[in-house]
Point group: C2
Amino acid sequence: MTTAVPMNLIDGIEADTLDVRDRGIMYGDGVFRTCAMRGARIPHWGRQYSKLAADCDAINIVCPPAQALESDIALIAARDADCVVRITVTRGAGARGYAIPTVARPRRIVSTSALPVYPSDSYTHGVRLHLCEIRLALQPKLAGIKHLNRLEQVLARSEWTDSASPEGLMRDARGNVICGTMSNLFIIEGNALLTPALDECGVAGVQRDRVLDLARERGIDCRIAALDLQRVLAADGVFLVNSVIGLWPVAQIARERCKQAALTSHIQEWLKA
Amino acid sequence: MTTAVPMNLIDGIEADTLDVRDRGIMYGDGVFRTCAMRGARIPHWGRQYSKLAADCDAINIVCPPAQALESDIALIAARDADCVVRITVTRGAGARGYAIPTVARPRRIVSTSALPVYPSDSYTHGVRLHLCEIRLALQPKLAGIKHLNRLEQVLARSEWTDSASPEGLMRDARGNVICGTMSNLFIIEGNALLTPALDECGVAGVQRDRVLDLARERGIDCRIAALDLQRVLAADGVFLVNSVIGLWPVAQIARERCKQAALTSHIQEWLKA
């Protein structure tokens, strides 16, 4: 846990408050990234920025240049070398109404918070997942994007308070398993690695892409597929990834135990390297 | 168009900026109302507050007391007797993460903007609607609520720029017609008044409730139904309502002309009375 005071930069300037008419507040009109900074660096920054730019593009926001964000990150690194960095890009302020202002100037918000410390057991033995009741709605036009409309995740995360479950598993309206509330899911079947298709809902995270790339480089058969709960429960291994937690094997989903695969530990190591 | 300077009250204090860590910004974690103030009064304030409270309750936010909002509104009325008043309630600030903070203190934001002036023709001849491509995702847990996750509406509204269409018609993932981007829809079939069911998507507005109450009081057969586009196009009358516009008859949807029903004008008058 870092002890540095959290810091916020809005368009590069230290500030703790934002224009109350920003469309990020009014409509959730923006996107974000949550990155871990370690040793004054954001690992895989190139991928993080590419994803931010792609998400901005998907909802027609002009992404701030990489250089602007990199100078924000340098300011933060000088103050707090190990922290969570959230990067938000909103469409900026505008007149009331859903129409995108012709003069909208996107706004970048870079905020730090303490790196969470998770039990080492979560990385070795694995985690227990709450099985969320709320289903992810199917919206192809927003699927894959890490946008600011996150009420489904807020409601999902409010379903349980038991600290023994650090994460919840989410299904879509059809019943397919999609992701954790804050993480992407993989399963192992024999020698194959599978992860849910995210073309109708869910967030396609940077760590998910890294897992797929690392596995493919090693000749592992990787598949994007529709996965129902029975298939996940029957898998030879199940794990979750995101940029802050890294990789958590899944030991249990609700009351069902999951199998553990050696490949999970290998991928955990590849991600760290 | 009023000329008063827009005003923002955050928890009753005039302020133009909001805590950048408010969950309204981070996750769209909040709800809102858009009301017209006319002659220093918000018509049907009781209904507006009830809906705000119900929406807060639906996502487990403690709604600010009516008295607090009424004193905000009085402050605004003294400055600008005729304006649009947007009331936003967010879950307040909290640590990063979807989990609802145990100490979250909801925040109320009351902002004014100029009352729009619409062509009188929109009220007599009716309006032409763009038929939106983007479909409303089905999410029963959030349906009916006017929450801050409004990217679907932002994307819908960005589909057209032709000022001849002041509103767009939205369908859900099944193809049923649900609403305008900022308004509720009614159709007339013979002597019956129909409006789409909003139990899977859409916002159940105050003006929609008023129309249903006013029509029922007069013995009109009112039905909540699934309405596909063919049925809307074949209707004897089609109209849109919200608290700022009042009632607009629909003259045309994309290239299809709509019929005009005398009942539409009657309801327009009842709403004004």
